[in-house]
Symmetry: C2
Subunit: 120 residues, 2 copies
């Protein structure tokens, strides 16, 4: 799981996985949308391959990459175990936003007072 | 998301989150199950706090930690987007295991041959 999470902790690597949902791709094809050198992309691919999130074809020259989403199931299952806790977090966020709205009303209060003061 | 994944890429930090599902805990309580110094645990807590996965109480001396599972919802949603692909991966794993079983049968073949050779 640590290897999977570490591999996912990079936006380029997550973008590569998203690209591979459309089908296998070569390194050149994967590099195209990024302002990144071939070796930089290859390094990301090695990290993804090590985490078993992608695998590479055997055709020596092209070696197309394909998505292996198996480890993402573990991630989904692991995170789903916290469902009842994030529901709690959102309840707390609601409370916080209500509290904040209350404060905003307090802030708008004095402004009205100023207008009132001008009238005097 | 990168910050969340990076925070989750460590087994101690994931164990801390699991512990906090039982309720808030102090640094001392969190450190207890680990053969780790207070400062080492505090460093992990800072990473989790930075990723908004935990928050800490305001009571100056104890500052109990509590789980904020909100970012884990994002992780779960993100990973769930790959569901149909991991189902594909498992189909491929099935194929691979079948292939492997086929090979195992081939391997047991020659062993029988050896026994046969002794008899000669």
């Amino acid at each position: 799981m640590s290897t999977t999470f570490a591999a996912l902790a990079d936006p380029t690597r997550r973008a590569i996985l998203a690209r591979l949902t459309h089908g296998p791709a070569t390194v050149t094809e994967l590099a195209a949308p990024f302002a990144m050198s071939g070796p930089a992309i290859s390094k990301h691919l090695r990290v993804l391959e090590h985490a078993r999130l992608i695998s590479r074809g055997r055709e020596a020259q092209w070696r197309p990459c394909q998505l292996d989403a198996g480890p993402l199931r573990e991630v989904a299952d692991w995170a789903a175990g916290y469902r009842r806790f994030w529901e709690k977090s959102f309840d707390r966020l609601d409370e916080y936003l209500e509290e904040l709205q209350g404060k905003r009303k307090e802030v708008t209060g004095p402004k009205k007072g100023k207008v009132h003061a001008k009238k005097r």
